[in-house]
Symmetry: C2
Subunit: 150 residues, 2 copies
Amino acid sequence: MDTPRACSVARSLEIVGERWSLLVLREVLLGVRRFADIQRHTGAPRAVLTQRLRRLVDAGILERRDYRPDGERTRQEYHPTPAGRELQPVLVALMQWGDRHLAGPDGPPVRMEHHDCGGAVHAHLVCEHGHALPGDGRGLRAVPRDVGAG
Amino acid sequence: MDTPRACSVARSLEIVGERWSLLVLREVLLGVRRFADIQRHTGAPRAVLTQRLRRLVDAGILERRDYRPDGERTRQEYHPTPAGRELQPVLVALMQWGDRHLAGPDGPPVRMEHHDCGGAVHAHLVCEHGHALPGDGRGLRAVPRDVGAG
């Protein structure tokens, strides 16, 4: 094999595999809509944020909408698309790893809860037959699509 | 709030929030151990790969082990640590998103299976009381740790 592995992880990372893109997505999924607020919450430099927002809009992850506050000029808000919302498990999985390995003495800064019951939410590995797999990937097997053909 | 949000997503991304780091981790979790093989499967430039491997070892995600093939010089292999293995849900979540949104006409290149039953494995959002949440994050609520104190 002399070309890089064909893989949906690699394709996903071409779009969101970079610190600022995922932090921007975190903000928009938390309901933050405006450039200045996204900038403040992420700490992204202005030029970087402009570029990342454009890229996320072009990739169909965010949608830009105009709004005009009373007496002010038209501004833009950023909303997640359905495809953008479906990145939520990636963020939850990153958060639970950071909570476990990087939280420090103060503990995790944010808790992800189920709105209905208040239970802590995690990203679990589950197979289509309903078996839960351990979070360290034991019991998981990667099968290239072309193996076993014919 | 004038400082960036305290968040385990951000802390995790400081370590793995970059395309090559997560692709290197993908390879090592797939069982690829040697520099040349990781380089070939990821397509990472040599200098970048050297730097990313060092960073992942320093962060306690990978472990470097010496080995010596018969009659050759000592070489290094890379193995995942327990903390590294626990990033598996992040990779599965990225893969399922790419499978769904970026797979193209050939379909997903790799299938993640449960070793025991062959069922396709996904990263699901589940609360501690056993409720399944939709993958688009509906029903999910982020609660800052200091809210509700006192």
